[in-house]
């Protein structure tokens, strides 16, 4: 667990091994703690320095989703056992505070609002809203099909959800669908711009569809060779990165774009990209690949990756944690390895 300084100024801070497939990864913005949800149903919790704080069976079946409460440090998990569970503790979330049970289906999405006052969870067509203590406020099953994407609007009062047939605003206090944006296609993922103005969805039919939410104007980018399921927004909401196969395309939402514009492409991976994430601050984009390669990019500044890292197995998830001075990246590999890297923000 010694820090190794790379020639590009990146430290591999720590690495850890699990004996299970890491399905999902989440870093606490307050404490820097890393939670890993595993396919066998356990959650592993690592400290900022890579110490394994706790590993416990959170769900009877695979963990599908994890979210940290940004203000309290509580951890929310969703699993294939049809439950979302809220984990709480004085110093670490060490006990189950409450359980939210769904009628059936896998809990694919859990999220706290930016204020940390409410939470939302989805399983199949059902959505449940609760307060920060996990006390259920309302549940509804009004979606046309399984919810495939969930994001809180910045106001913390509504979520945007995606499912087959379009996206919608859902009110957290009533679970009523407030507004629908229809598109008769199979939407498989959702990325809401950090400013809350644009919702972009990957579609099963190899296209990306997006809506400018204030006006309802929508557009699509088609012609991808593979399903563009992975989407990520730059922190300033000016750039949308889309991964399709081994290629990343970048759509600029600054000025007139992206309608009628050609996207930039980032070409560096040899195999399909499995995870894609812009840093929550700055402009650094990271992509992980099926062959275990991780590339860091600074779109706009260089068409070549600014940093490479690799591990064994497939990259399953990547999560960022940023402070004023540095950024840290946590990478999960399919063989159960977790790597954490630290570098100065944006390689300045």
């Amino acid at each position: 667990m010694s820090a190794v300084l790379d020639s590009s100024g990146v430290y591999q801070h720590w690495s850890a091994g699990l004996d299970d497939y890491p399905v999902v990864l989440s870093v606490c913005g307050r404490s820097g703690r890393v939670a890993v949800g595993e396919s066998g149903g356990r959650v592993s919790l690592f400290g900022r320095d890579g110490t394994l704080i706790r590993r416990w069976r959170a769900h009877a079946d695979a963990v599908m989703a994890l979210a940290w409460n940004p203000s309290t440090g509580d951890l929310l998990s969703g699993g294939q056992d049809g439950c979302a569970r809220l984990w709480r503790g004085i110093t670490v979330p060490d006990h189950e505070h409450c359980k939210i049970a769904f009628a059936k289906a896998w809990v694919d999405h859990v999220a706290f609002n930016p204020q940390g006052t409410r939470l939302a969870a989805c399983a199949g067509r059902e959505i449940i809203f609760a307060n920060a203590d996990g006390e259920e406020v309302v549940r509804a099953c009004d979606h046309a099909s399984t919810v495939t994407g969930l994001a809180w609007r910045p106001n913390g009062e509504q979520v945007v959800t995606a499912c087959y047939g379009g996206i919608q605003y859902v009110r957290a206090d009533s679970a009523l669908i407030k507004r629908r944006f229809k598109w008769s296609g199979s939407l498989i993922s959702l990325a809401l711009s950090p400013d809350g103005n644009v919702a972009a969805c990957g579609c099963q039919d190899n296209s990306v569809h997006f809506w400018r939410l204030a006006s309802g104007v929508d557009a699509m980018m088609s012609g991808y060779a593979a399903k563009p399921a992975l989407l990520s927004w730059r922190a300033d909401s000016g750039l949308l990165a889309v991964a399709s196969g081994a290629e990343i395309t970048l759509w600029s939402f600054e000025g007139q774009g992206p309608e009628g514009m050609r996207p930039e492409t980032l070409d560096g991976h040899d195999r399909p990209i499995t995870t894609l994430a812009f840093a929550p601050r700055g402009a650094c984009l990271v992509s992980g690949c099926r062959d275990g390669e991780v590339l860091c990019w600074l779109p706009g500044r260089s068409a070549r990756p600014v940093f490479r890292h690799s591990g064994d197995g497939e990259v399953t998830r990547i999560a960022w944690a940023c402070s004023d001075e540095s950024s840290s990246l946590v990478i999960a590999f399919s063989i159960g390895e977790i790597h954490q890297l630290t570098f100065r923000r944006d390689f300045k």
Partner: protein
Amino acid sequence: MNAARIPVTVLTGFLGSGKTTLLNRILSEHHGQRIAVIENEFGEIGVDQDLVINADEEVFEMNNGCICCTVRGDLIRILSSLMKRRDKFDRILLETTGLANPGPVAQTFFVDDDVREHFALDGIVTLADARHLPSRLEDSEEAREQIAFADVIVINKTDLVNQHELDTLERRLRAMNSVARVSRARHASVPVEEVLGIGGFDLARALEYKPTMLEPEYPFEWAGLFECPAGELSLELAPGPDPAMSIMLARVDQASSARLLELAPGVMRTFALGPVDREAGQDVFAGEVVHRLVLRRNGKSNYPVLIPNAGPYVLFTQHLPEEFGMKLGGARLVDQHQFVAAHTHDESVRSLNFTVREPLHAAKFQHWLDRLLRENGTTLFRMKGFLNFSGSADRIVIQGVHMLVDTLVLEPWGDQSRATQLVLIGKDLDEEDLHSRLRACIA
């Protein structure tokens, strides 16, 4: 393509046909395989099973300009997630709801790259309730499509109907889907190897898969090998489903079933020349002539059969003998064979079997195929066959689900007799038009 793809077997069939019984039977038998089950919301797994996943059947249209291209969105999600645990099971069983159309399930394995890379559709097994299916076939499009899509049809609950009803149903199902294997069962008790590992969509296994697929569509359903004494025998028939039945009697040099089958193509040509009508009482004789026996409306009809020399004879009949209570008095039945029936029932869903010996022009065939898919893509459920192109030494295998078609170069023909053989299973397909246009592709 990943060699170690996980096989997925789909179980379809109407409510009450025995899907869940078969599922439980497969799971409880000791077969050394770890099976994950994707069950529909009404399913009832009765045995302890580690991995049972409940699925809502979410059928989505694809926006790819193909109106019939529908997939199961839930299946894509579930399978994509199961990929992460692929070391934990060897096989997946997927049970659909009774009213499900198998098309979207099958298409999911063609359309989604992730699913295609990690999973292989092993086959569609359709459970048929022996007693209730006949009426379902009349009133339900889904029931007809479940039969049309099947690689294996299990006629279940055979104890609830008599032999004649069973035979009638089986003939009807074979006319609708001539490539499926048909087996009969009580309480869904079929050997596991008949429903798992069937390779129904595996192009490389096309040859081993279904021998009767290679049998052309004969204008006769049955042939019997008789040992006949010299003299006058009597052929007796009772009124049946048709007012007349065509037959042909042929002399053979030895009483073997191989000889019986060898005769079939020649007899088919003779049938094509048209029959000679025979009223009850008029005599019938061996030779290259087809007799159309016009039956009395009431009571039995007898036709004297003139046998000049004692020995083995083969009698070909247009319909099955039991449908007319047929007997050849004085002769001894040594062997018999039931042929893949021509479309004797007036089904909207049926199999068309085309055989063309002459090599086809590859580009012309492509046009024929494009037009078929364009015009009949929505009602063409499945297609299977071999292609024989001029200028190519290779046997090419083709298969399709609706408008999605795969081909694979199988192996050189070598000294096997070359022919294009295609089976199309679909609804309201124009056989004559398709056949004549296919023949126009001859190089």
